[in-house]
Amino acid sequence: MNFTKTRSDLTVMLIFSIAVLTMPIWLAPIGAGYPDLLQKFAIFGIFAIGYNILFGLTGYLSFGHAAFLGIGSYTAVWSFKLLTMNVLPAIFFAVLMAGLFAALIGFVSLRRSGIYFSILTLAFAQMSYNLAYSVLTPITNGETGLQLTLQDARIFDGPAGEGLPSTELFGISMSGYSGFYFCAVVLIIAFFLSLKIFRSPFGMKLQAIKSNQTRMKYTGFNTRPYLMTAFIISGMYAGLAGGLMAVTDPLAGAERMQWTASGEVVLMTILGGVGTLFGPLLGVGIIKYFENIFSAVNEAALHNFFSFLPGFLENLMVTIITPFVGEGWHLTLGVLFMVIVIFLPGGIMEGLDRIKKRYKTEGASEQTGDKE
């Protein structure tokens, strides 16, 4: 948090925007600069930022946020099927729908706090998942996933041409890099809103709930409305992310709502640093990078990488590392997560802060040395 306090919000936003928009350049050397992964970074960034508003500020650990992600996706795909391939209505309805469901689920779940709240949200998410997976098959197409077809109405688009139409924003195709830049702009706006919430009196109240809700109640505050608002906002963020997933790839599957997906965003937030502005984004970057790049490293690639070593060493290194890449990427992620939670409870942001502090104290002593 030191970082954000010392600079004005404008500078923070400026640096953030530049960093996000130039992602295709600075991520290219580590093999992550291709549109699909960049889109995922931006989309899950929004998801995690929204989640952080609830978990980071109020301390309420929701284990069911993937439900809103899924609802956003399904709504967006239905908007593409029924209304138009333009992405704006899809996103609007995705956010709206997720907000409605968040109000509903929040109304029930927020009657409890702590572990009971977590279990309630988990139960709701798992219910949504099962509904999407089997009961509501006519709406969700079950495990096969909801896809566009040529027979869809699309009442604002007129008759379909040959082949499936693709999502567009007034003629700009939403796949590839243009899709990424669209998501990036939405991410920047979402980040800006989150920054404003962190800085606002409303954000202060949320943090007060986290530090001591009972004391806050004694001072005369009714905390429920604030919790509800935070829950709905973070649900809408998740809906927005879900909608964007459908925008960049018009398909919605039930697995988006599974508890593992809810768990993933918790991991991302904790890995990066709960309650910090940038932490969740770092967590997203690391987890998505592992999932997409590490999982694709195979033995041949490893041999290639270690080819500068003599034969037996090369084979040794490949044997040691093979279990941790490819299908073993979960293992690496698990180890990393454990190391961070044990040594840096505040996530990567805490690590960065520590490095900064050390650097600062060293710098200070050097300066005094110069004066002498």
């Binding site: 295709p24 996933g145 694709a296």
Partner: protein
């Protein structure tokens, strides 16, 4: 993030190049921005061409995925002229020379579909956008196959489906850029019908347990059509989630349902679990309506047979291919696969291997990697010597038509791999159907 102070000249050059690439990229992904003959991931002057192998490495179908990957690696070896050449020597007609594809050495990348549509599409997109694959293949779940097939059409990259058995893959969800060598549920039903009639008669009461996704649905439907055509009654059809693990809650109701036949529309580890549990519950020792209780597994694989062990003896099903076949193609493939890995290949491995060779051969015939031309070569292609006898890639729906094997669990296996006994080789003419019955639309050649 990047530290702007310490940039040296090379970094600046690199960044500049990346900027230019990023700037030009949107044009890549816009339709018709480039000359007509240019296309997604054109290998033009490169000395290698990259194929993508997208298989389940985790989840209920991981065993099949692992075997598919082995077959892909073997196919790449053979295409590059290494090893003994396998089915390249028996394929007819063949233009493959063992010097890669169109003289370019074949490289490959792999990915994990996790048997999830989202993950599979993300992995396929990585292959297309980052690794620049000209074709990708893989499968083991029809849900995944259909999801990535849609992607293939959008991106204009050919998808040679691996193991996918749902009617929808080449039925209502067929795509111009998707091809399937594997057989489907409709063909399983047609092939099983006469054998079921002969073995079990025309008066039975069947109970279905069905994996709850596109493959399970269409298989249940096709088998129902067949059995009801024989005069069987369908007691009930229950849908079970994929990867459920424990099926006991679905099996107990069968005992009291009055059904005398259980049809398991399950695959992979699901089938191993449900069958094992059904046997443990004593279903096979039961007598219902004066008849022995029977279990049928319409889609069989040797990998599943290995997992289910003893329980599988005498149980009927169909398979696309079996390593015990004695034709030249099958023997050549079993020999080179066996010498590479030490055990015989599964049907999943077979179909993936064949698909890779077929794609490579189509490129050779077309003389280009340009997808519309390659697709036109594959459509209606007649070939032989790939283990299934005379085979045709039907142009109307991109489905291969060939003989189907009806098999049963071997009562006296001579080795740990000799688990399936071929009951009947059903000729292609008996399993053919009209392409229009499932609807669907292939879509355009040019995307």
């Amino acid at each position: 993030m990047s530290d702007t102070k310490n940039w040296n000249r090379r970094d600046v050059m690199k960044a500049g190049a990346a900027f230019a690439a990023a700037g030009a990229a949107p044009m890549f992904f816009t339709k018709d921005a480039w000359a007509a003959k240019d296309f997604m991931n054109n290998p033009s002057n490169s000395s290698t061409v990259t194929l993508g192998f997208n298989v389940p490495q985790t989840g209920a179908y991981a065993d099949e995925g692992a075997d598919e990957l082995r077959a892909f690696k073997l196919a790449v070896k053979h295409l590059n002229g290494e090893g003994d050449g396998g089915m390249m020597n028996t394929m007819k007609p063949s233009m493959l020379k063992g010097n890669g594809i169109l003289g370019k050495k074949v490289a490959y990348v792999t990915g994990d579909t996790q048997t999830k549509s989202d993950a599979a599409r993300a992995s396929a997109k990585r292959m297309i956008e980052k690794d620049g694959v000209i074709m990708f293949s893989g499968g083991s779940s029809s849900g995944v196959a259909i999801a990535v097939q849609g992607l293939a059409q959008e991106m204009g990259v050919v998808f040679m489906a691996g193991l996918t058995h749902s009617n929808d893959t080449t039925g209502k969800d067929k795509r111009r850029y998707g091809f399937r060598h594997f057989f489907n549920a409709k063909m399983s039903g047609s092939a099983l019908g006469p054998v079921l009639k002969e073995r079990m008669g025309t008066d039975r009461n069947a109970y279905h347990l069905t994996a709850d996704y596109t493959w399970g649905w269409t298989q249940e439907q096709s088998i129902k059509e067949t059995t009801e055509g024989l005069g069987w009654n369908t007691a009930k059809a229950v849908k079970t989630p994929v990867g459920a693990g424990d099926f006991s809650q679905y099996i107990t109701p069968i005992l009291n349902s009055g059904a005398d036949t259980l049809i398991l529309n399950h695959y992979g580890k699901d089938m191993i679990n449900s069958l094992t549990q059904a046997v443990q519950f004593g279903l096979r020792d039961k007598q219902v309506n004066g008849k022995d209780f029977q279990i049928i597994v319409p889609l069989y694989s040797r990998l599943m047979a290995q997992g289910a062990g003893e329980n599988l003896k005498g149980i009927l099903g169909t398979t696309n291919w079996n390593w015990a076949l004695t034709d030249n193609g099958s023997q050549a493939f079993v020999k080179s696969f066996g010498s590479e890995y030490g055990f015989p290949p599964s049907q999943a491995a077979h179909t993936c291997y064949v698909q890779t060779l077929l794609y490579a051969n189509a490129c050779e015939m077309a003389g280009t990697f340009y997808p519309p031309e390659v697709i036109k070569q594959l459509e209606g292609f007649n070939f032989d010597g790939m283990g299934n006898g005379k085979t045709e890639y039907r142009a109307a729906d991109h489905q291969c038509f060939k003989d189907v094997l009806v098999v049963e669990g071997n009562q006296n296996p001579s080795s740990q791999f000799d688990l399936l006994k071929i009951v009947k080789e059903v000729p292609r003419s008996q399993v053919e159907y009209d392409a229009s019955i499932f609807g669907g639309d292939l879509g355009p050649y040019e995307v």
